[in-house]
């Protein structure tokens, strides 16, 4: 019953040994990929979290200011809330664009790993 192909755990022993993972992790292309991801993802994450929490903070602690009417119809609170939707869509769009570069870098690494198990 020790047939490894039937193991449901993804940590099955396979051809790729620990040293191979270490080699890839230490390689320059992989470090470039991680750097490229960090440059986009960390600022994007920090920005959206800050932008989002500005809404409950302002609405919660400055309700009078946020009730100010704009163009006679809307108020600041509603417009700021609405802007969050567009903020989310824009960041998602920018991320998809940036991720095309990540895909390219990852593809190079997979090809170099050259064992055809790339899952792409």
């Amino acid at each position: 019953m020790a047939d490894p192909s039937r193991r449901a755990d993804p940590t099955r022993p396979d051809e790729t040994s620990q040293t191979t993972w270490d080699q890839i992790a230490e390689s320059k292309p992989f470090k470039d990929l991680m750097a490229a991801k960090k440059i986009f993802i960390i600022p994007a994450f920090v920005f959206f979290v800050a932008y989002y929490f500005a809404l409950p903070v302002l609405v919660g602690y400055a309700p009078q200011l946020m009730s100010t009417r704009v163009w006679g119809i809307f108020n600041l609170a509603y417009l700021f809330a609405l802007s969050q939707f567009f903020m989310a869509w824009i960041i998602a769009g920018l991320y998809v664009k940036a991720a095309n570069t990540f895909d390219q870098l990852a593809k190079d690494i997979l090809e170099k790993a050259g064992n055809g198990r790339g899952g792409k």
Partner: protein, 535 residues
Amino acid sequence: MASISLVMFLVFIAITLGITYWASKRSAGANAYFAASRQITAWQNGIAVAGDYMSAASFLGIAGIIAFQGYDGFLFSVGWLVAYLTVLLVIAEPLRNAGKYTMADVLAYRLKPKPVRVMASLSTLTVSTFYMIAQMVGAGALVKLLLGGFVTYNQAVIGVGVLMIVYVVFGGMLATTWVQIIKAILLMAGTILLSILVLAHFHFSFADFFGAIGRVTYHDAKGQLVVKDFLQPGLRYKPPYGPLDLISLGMALIFGTAGLPHILVRFYTVPDAKTARHSVVWAMVLIGSFYIMTTFLGFGAATVVGPDYIKTHGGTNMSAPLLAQALAGNVFFAFISAIAFATILAVVAGLTISATTSFSHDFWTNVVHDGVERKPGEEVMVARISAFAVGAVAIAIAILLGPTANVAFLVALAFAVAASANLPVIVLSIFWRRFNTAGAVAGLGIGLLASIGLILVSPSLMAIDPPTVTGTARHLIQAKAWFPLENPGILSIPLGFLGAIAGTLLSHEPTSQYKFNELLVRSNTGLGAEKAGVQ
């Protein structure tokens, strides 16, 4: 009126059962059963994520909260979309690259599989069951309201429970996916139609519509006629603790969505990480459009129907169906009600399959039987049996609680556990080399206990009711709440992270650091990721 609703329910049920039959012939093998053979496309999965996510709480609940408490209700809508940036930027792709069927797969790479799988499975079952009970009580109450005379509360709960068991047991992930896709399309169609009707009611003039929102007239709790600007913040979240509760809610939504097991499993149904990414974007387009339109559903109900009428005709949750009735008559009312019913079914099916996958894959196969199936197909068989068990437990609890039970806190609890237990552990396992098994177990355990504990002593469960409130509608603990916020996130999320960090620093586990490179490379490149196709 009830008969039109009934016919529409039956049509939806017939279509979904047809899909289940079709899917049942394509659900042989674990990959097919748990992950729809990983052949769902980006747009399909995007729509299914939206269908999995937009629950009765968002459709009926949000419309109701906005109809009664105005702008503050719209803040839920904002959080429910923005949360997907966490899913997109942090979780979806590493999960698809490194996992197989559950979130625990990702943890098990570098940590000791047994303890983390036990804890992750416990947390998954907690989130899924609580969320499911909230949905089922809602479904029972809704069907009773709509089909009163035809169907009782208990029959409705049993009906919903049996249907979700049938979808999951026979059709697996493939049937669940298509039920969610159909539901999402119906929900979007109904919402767009309703929004156009609201605008038409105000002669397509935003000035008229927002003017009316500025002066909603109704009787307040003391029976006095008041005129309120519903666009103004503060009708729900009042000082002194309101603003903190609002921030706490935001934290639970932003960090909890990316830890909801029934959302996470959806990313295993696509061929690769790139498709997973695109499916999140599809989902964001749909979910965002829907939540923007809650402006029309909620404020429309407040202005066209009015809180007074809604209160005497079924209560807050009936706001959207009553709006449909006021604008376009009984057939449209029946249509919107049928959509609400479809919404609940799609969500409970998603919850059931994530719970059963975790029990069967994490607990049964990988903990009890060391990762080896004793005979082929055992994992799927155990999942099917556990779907019966999960369904039966949910039906029993929903019937015991009854239609008047206060269950809204269960949704808050599900998000809090997801944000405080699941998310810290997934994030630290992907990003922190030093992280280890003790940290994961401590993080999951403390996040889970802190969420449950704080909700238990929050105003949701702890308050002094007047003697007129009876049965399960009464608060569980009749005393002044110890923790003043309804949402525990602001405290429980930091506690979950602290638990995970402290557990890690207090123990030593060289292998978890040694194996970090493997997870790092796998999650970021997709090297060795699970492939699409029937295994």
